[in-house]
């Protein structure tokens, strides 16, 4: 509970509160790994159980998935740049790169919604079989995380205009940076083990 503030180092690490929050968030990410791993495990066990619904190989489109992947990879990169700018003390750099990240995230979501609607027209829905239940839940949980992340970034951008760069706002941006990169890591695994393997097998 000490409120002593360090004079050097990145803003987000200067207060005790900042250090504790960042550490807590890393631990939370550990829990998130397990959360997604459980969904992956369910997906893996239920793989191939498509019942009367179409198989994933018939529905997955390499082009759409690659576009989505590149959008998310790029957004992770721009998010990293935003945090880099923040550490250089540039409010403008942080804001602009964060907005780019936001737009790429929205683009990703748009493609994902399009994809889900498309699949459901082809007869693959949450209700159609065990495989498709696990597919929509896994990809949907990731999509939900992205959606929450976008809402969160918007809130933080408002706070940035209100308060500028303080230890507290920097800590919040740093944490959402970690969150965003983490979602990218999860997507890499979804891209590989769901889409690529689904198209191969």
């Amino acid at each position: 509970m000490s409120s002593h503030e360090l004079k050097t180092g990145p803003l987000e690490y200067r207060t005790e509160e900042g250090r504790l929050s960042i550490l807590g968030f890393w631990i939370f990410l550990g829990a998130e790994i397990v959360l997604f791993a459980t969904l992956f495990a369910t997906y893996a066990v239920l793989f191939g159980r498509t019942a009367d619904a179409p198989s994933p190989g018939e529905l997955f489109e390499a082009k759409t998935v690659l576009i989505m992947t590149f959008m998310l990879l790029t957004s992770s990169f721009t998010c990293g740049i935003a945090i880099h700018e923040m550490r250089r003390g540039s409010v403008k750099g942080l804001r602009n790169w964060m907005i780019v990240t936001l737009i790429l995230g929205l683009g990703f979501l748009g493609f994902e919604i399009y994809e889900f609607v498309h699949y459901s027209h082809e007869g693959a829905t949450l209700q159609s079989s065990a495989y498709w239940s696990s597919f929509f839940t896994l990809a949907g949980t990731h999509g939900l995380h992205v959606t929450l992340g976008i809402g969160w970034v918007i809130l933080l951008l408002i706070q940035l205009t209100q308060r500028g760069l303080t230890p507290k706002t920097s800590r919040k941006f740093f944490v959402i940076g970690l969150y965003w990169h983490f979602l990218d890591v999860v997507w890499i695994f979804i891209f590989t083990s769901v889409y690529l393997i689904g198209m191969v097998v």
């Binding site: 829990a31 459980t38 495990a41 239940s133």
Partner: protein, 645 residues
């Protein structure tokens, strides 16, 4: 929906329950209004972020849940005493064993231990609160509202009846329609959020907020067990979250995970449930081990024997706990190879557990034992738990398990480990730290009566169940055949003995509140070894006026030798503390509304509640409250009066 579908009707016992709930609620409202206590309730308790008050609220709620689960247990034992009893019908019996199991594990054992952790751990490591006090309040309210959501199923909508493990397909929408099972899913989901947050909170607290210079291997053993337990919570609870969410999707949104249609896989539920469920067993037993270690070393007046071995044993148990889950469903038929692997990993757990038993015996060896009530619970634990452990190894042999599975042998086993381990530890810990919490001790004489009733009752109740299990009595049957009657009668007598023990314990709380001598020093038992006893009683809300430098295990022993205290007048500085807030309470109340809506599949209510929760989160995000500082004068005044200087 008709009103008579909404409320449970047609059962005299449930009508009696409704009446008593209504009476208790009305009398509570009356007293709060009559004595003008609403403001006090809101300011001091509902909005508090103080880890000590949150801990006390956890413990009180857990005691209430112990009462509820205990009544369930005695109703089951009454029904099973004689063949063809007509006390409970099959449906009602199914509901009661389901709620008994769920309430005892999720809403009694865990909150009780988390309550003790909340109260004790920051004091033991010399911290002024946990790392995230706001989150801590959120955890508590999520647990309480989750527990309430689960418990109202008893009068509204009907209780779940598929067992606390809720195996599919029985628990699926096809075979268990209606809201009952949804109460299980959402009640657990809601309280699970809080448990995960508690895990994160305590990990950060213990890793980062220890007193100056206190190294990891100088932490009290209860703090160690809390750290490892938190680690297990962080890695195990997300599995439960997902499993519950998947079954919710199945039941409410028509997904096909665990169904018999659409190529779903019912046993995948069992797999996920026990991937969480086995670590969960260690979540409720490791803190218990920690409590016993503290109590034994305090009343044997010795340093704990083999401290490092103890810590490594806890770590090893935690690691192994993630590798044994299949032993809960050996009979699924995964094949000899799979079963052998898990059989061996299961038996491995006996090794570190055995190490711990010898640590406790080594501590007791050639020591001068203070025979207090807390110590008696700890001493009763060792032999009782060994019986439970040994029968656990028997169950761990996959081939033998085909005989034991789903019989009363199993029931006896897990009650021997959970009651002799966790429940004894809860009593022991509560008696031990009671003076620190409430400023007076529990009456020792009444404590001993309650101890003997409970412990003897426990053995009388559960020891015969091993044998009736070997005679072939399956678990979860609502009626018995004449051959099983003698042992079942003995068992029922024992269960009521435990009930008497619990009643005496509650009476001791009321009696001591009136008649016990008030504490004058902080070191209530005169031989406290760890830092919590260095604080004055009652503990000031900031815990420590000055933080001692720690350079040894059993920090308080060293402080006493050096004549130091946690109030070095010339070193006092202003202390930064977090402000109270009603947000956690309100946020979780909305979560409750949302969960209730989802139980009855009223989507407008579920979505409305969730939106309200989101709004609360946004409010929190824009809340830049920095807390406040306690000034030096106030600290000195508080300390002088608390220490009677």
């Amino acid at each position: 929906m008709q009103l008579d579908e909404f409320f449970v009707t047609g059962e005299p016992l449930i009508y009696a329950g409704m009446v008593s709930i209504a009476l208790v609620t009305i009398s509570m409202l009356f007293f709060l209004t009559y004595y003008k206590k609403w403001g006090w309730l809101w300011r001091e308790w509902l909005t508090t972020v103080d880890h000590k008050k949150i801990g006390i609220m956890y413990i009180l709620s857990a005691l209430a849940m112990l009462f509820r689960g205990g009544v369930d247990a005695m109703m089951m034992r009454t029904q099973l005493a004689f063949p063809n009893m007509n006390f409970l019908n099959a449906q009602h019996y199914d509901e009661i064993f389901t709620t008994h199991g769920t309430v005892m594990i999720i809403f009694m054992a865990m909150p009780f231990l988390i309550g003790l952790m909340n109260f004790v751990v920051p004091l033991q490591i010399g911290a002024r609160d946990v790392a995230f006090p706001y989150l801590n309040a959120l955890s508590f309210w999520s647990f309480l509202f989750g527990a309430m959501l689960f418990n109202i199923s008893f009068v509204i909508g009907g209780s779940p009846d598929a067992g606390w493990t809720s195996y599919t397909p029985l628990a699926g929408a096809a075979m268990s329609p209606g809201p009952g099972q949804n109460f299980y899913l959402l009640g657990l989901q809601l309280s699970g959020i809080g448990t995960l947050a508690t895990g994160i909170n305590f990990m950060v607290t213990i890793l980062k907020m220890r007193a100056p210079k206190m190294r990891m291997f100088q932490m009290p053993i209860f703090t160690w067990s809390t750290l490892i337990t938190s680690f297990i919570i962080v890695f195990a609870f997300p599995i439960l979250t997902v499993a519950l969410a998947l079954m919710t999707l199945d039941r409410i949104f028509g997904a096909q995970f665990f169904t018999l249609t659409g190529e779903g896989m019912p046993m995948m539920w069992a797999n996920l449930f026990w991937m969480w469920g086995h670590p969960e067993v260690y979540i409720v037993i490791l803190p218990a081990f920690g409590i016993f270690s503290e109590v034994i070393s305090a009343f044997a007046r010795k340093q704990l024997f083999g401290y490092k071995a103890m810590v490594w044993a806890i770590i090893l148990i935690a690691g192994l706990s993630f590798l044994v889950w299949v032993h809960h469903f050996f009979t699924m038929g995964a094949g000899a190879f799979v079963n052998s692997v898990f059989s061996i990993s299961t038996m491995l757990i006996a090794v570190p557990t055995g190490v711990k038993i010898f640590n406790w015996l080594g501590t007791l060896y050639k020591s001068k034992i203070n025979n207090t009530v807390a110590m008696m619970w700890a001493l009763a634990f060792i032999p009782s738990f060994v019986i439970g452990g040994v029968t656990g190894v028997m169950l761990g042999m996959a081939s033998a398990d085909y005989q034991f599975h789903n019989t009363y042998f199993l029931v006896a086993h897990f009650h021997y480990v959970l009651i002799a381990g966790t429940v004894f530890a809860c009593f022991s810990g509560l008696v031990f730290w009671y003076p620190k919490m409430f400023g007076h001790k529990l009456n020792e004489r009444l404590g001993k009566w309650s101890f003997w009733f409970f412990v003897i009752g426990f053995h009388v109740c559960f020891f015969p169940q091993y044998f009736v299990g070997l005679d072939g009595m399956p678990r979860r049957v609502f009626t018995i055949i004449p051959e099983w009657m003698p042992l079942n009668i003995i068992s029922t007598v024992g269960a009521f003995g435990m009930g008497v023990g619990f009643a005496i314990f509650v009476f001791a709380i009321l009696y001591s509140y009136r008649y016990s001598e008030r504490e004058k020093t902080g070191d209530s038992w005169d031989n406290g070894r760890t830092l919590e006893w260095a604080t004055p009683t009652p503990v000031p809300f900031y815990n420590f006026a000055t933080l001692p430098h720690i350079d040894s295990q059993d920090a308080y022993v060293k402080l006493k030798q050096e004549g130091k205290t946690t109030f070095e007048e010339d070193e006092v500085e202003p202390i930064h503390m977090p402000s109270n807030t009603g947000q956690p309470f309100i946020m979780m109340a909305f979560m409750f509304v949302s969960g209730f809506g989802l139980v009855f599949e009223w989507m407008w209510m579920a979505i409305g509640g969730l939106l309200a929760v989101l709004v609360m989160m946004i409010i929190r995000s824009f809340d830049y409250d920095e807390g406040f500082h306690v000034e030096v004068d106030e600290i000195k005044r508080t300390e002088r009066s608390a220490r009677r200087l």
